[in-house]
Symmetry: C4
Subunit: 204 residues, 4 copies
Amino acid sequence: MFSSADQNRALELLEAIHFFSVKNWSPATSTNYSVRSTQPGKFIISRSGVDKSRFAYEDLILIDGAGQVDPAFAAPGVKSSAETDIHTALYRLYPEVECVLHTHSVAGTVLSMTPERELRFTGLEILKGLEGNATHELTEVLPIVPNSQDMGEILSALDGRLAGAHGFLIKGHGLYTWGKDIASAKRHIETYEFLFECELKLRS
Amino acid sequence: MFSSADQNRALELLEAIHFFSVKNWSPATSTNYSVRSTQPGKFIISRSGVDKSRFAYEDLILIDGAGQVDPAFAAPGVKSSAETDIHTALYRLYPEVECVLHTHSVAGTVLSMTPERELRFTGLEILKGLEGNATHELTEVLPIVPNSQDMGEILSALDGRLAGAHGFLIKGHGLYTWGKDIASAKRHIETYEFLFECELKLRS
Amino acid sequence: MFSSADQNRALELLEAIHFFSVKNWSPATSTNYSVRSTQPGKFIISRSGVDKSRFAYEDLILIDGAGQVDPAFAAPGVKSSAETDIHTALYRLYPEVECVLHTHSVAGTVLSMTPERELRFTGLEILKGLEGNATHELTEVLPIVPNSQDMGEILSALDGRLAGAHGFLIKGHGLYTWGKDIASAKRHIETYEFLFECELKLRS
Amino acid sequence: MFSSADQNRALELLEAIHFFSVKNWSPATSTNYSVRSTQPGKFIISRSGVDKSRFAYEDLILIDGAGQVDPAFAAPGVKSSAETDIHTALYRLYPEVECVLHTHSVAGTVLSMTPERELRFTGLEILKGLEGNATHELTEVLPIVPNSQDMGEILSALDGRLAGAHGFLIKGHGLYTWGKDIASAKRHIETYEFLFECELKLRS
């Protein structure tokens, strides 16, 4: 049902979703994913409540910037992700961003429970995986915000904390990151998940 | 040999069994799985003694509520799981439950050896993976009961301890959980196994 | 080149070898595997020096009880495993044993470095995976012997230490176990590797 | 575009690259790999910036000893790896070496952050996976050098430190190793990564 121009994006997003599932970064029905549609103001997003190990092309739907499901994709039980508002807010904040991804790994969840307000990573080559980083000799800050079932509260908690960040952690919940295209956003996920696994081992 | 109405259930259960095997949650011949048959009072269950990495459609059999193998499935060496009584007891206790699953992971086994009588999980988004939980702001209690080769003893130990629980751990043995359909029960397994891995890392 | 009666055994052994490789229990060219041939006094065994992630049917060869490669399998560079003497000694010791398997996992290697002379496992349901164990309420002893490049030394060190054991660890080197058929021996490998992972986490 | 003599090498290298990706040793666009071409003074190498989980035959290119991309492989955006100079320097240093591999695992990264100037491994059977080692009774030294975005600095830091070594670690960055052919170099990667995982667990 996607336009032929959107089909390629949907398929590339689907491949990333399968990759994350195999890596154990999307247990059960957790996590959600989106990419801008070629139609301005529209987004391709994972629908709510799907087992990510069985996620299929048909589980991607088209929404507008208010999170409304496009009539062509409306069907009984089809809802956009409960966290749609975070995706659309990030697209408004970052016009150059084409893709927003949210994973939910054991390592990210465990690290997010630290009493600190942010994670700081420094001196690791993998930091070059984050857009614009040309060296390992820098400190990357990943903000941690409290979890809430009210997306507005999460967005308020992010206020003023995203400057210079490539993503954020929601406490006990997981990682959001984004990129100028699907490949960049996927690279950010892999980079952060690698950093999380290193950090967990370095702390223990 | 299943009725055509039962074939779909058996195939969906088989897919979940393969998923758990790939995740390393069913070493060797451990673990067992069942789903209600479309025939009232009958159950589709994994037969005893099968290597779960080679488990096949033919290893699912039909039993009645007393654990007797349906004559159509009887063959030399075909027995229902040694833990069949736990499955049938749970179906009697929960008429709305359609599927009972038992995994045996390293993380679950290790945590079950705690001297505490139960595990308590709180504040994690993944808790919403358990049926009826609409928020992370709750405490989920997972009872731990002593292991026994006598299923009656395990069932007695569960007496009065399942109120509000979505599953239980048998000490040194693994996890039981259930759901209103196969998808729900599988989601519960993934949720608990994720919680176990987080908890193990948070404790170390 | 195997007799048709031997082909099934070779293929079943090959499937187990691939399973162990995927589990990360046979890094690089480590580990070796054998099964009795249907010809008395002959054995099907993995040849030496093969990358286990690329191990193929053609890498299984026929040897006699002295470790000599059957002429039909002799070719330049084809040697039986350096540890062939351990396999043939175990077959002499246990006439009822049909299959000998040796894996080399991280968990087994790390645990084998303990200063203790043996590992003891108790109270875990998975112990029933070892032949003849009908309950978790027992203590299973796994001897650890010093490593040597001289198989005679390893065999001497085992003298008098295998009574009641289902396998042994060579220090810094890995696990040997066996069974009445390939399925039993594979179940023993999975049981021990599960025990190793539990034990490592219980110790930390 | 490779000569038919080079195609087999490229395909074997590709298989190793896929193997490392599945093992989680090449997150995102990290890592690089090369093998000598059958044309003297030429090398087949992974091009820069490719997601290693999607690495394809077309991502292998031909370069000369100065790191210049062969005109037949030049296309917009095609660059040799940023670390090409390390590969070509190793080929100059070791005329018998046919293959140079660089992985970037969590375990290697974490261990490389030790304040020590080198890792020492001793007494483990897996050490025989490193070319020329006939026993576990030796000590293998793996130098650690500081990371830099200037390959010349890394090469200078290696000066005089490679005697007797089969590889080296760059701090916070990962492992380089090599071999007389692709199979040997791959075996070295697997050997070191196994050693890293053992060492991490032995230290904790």
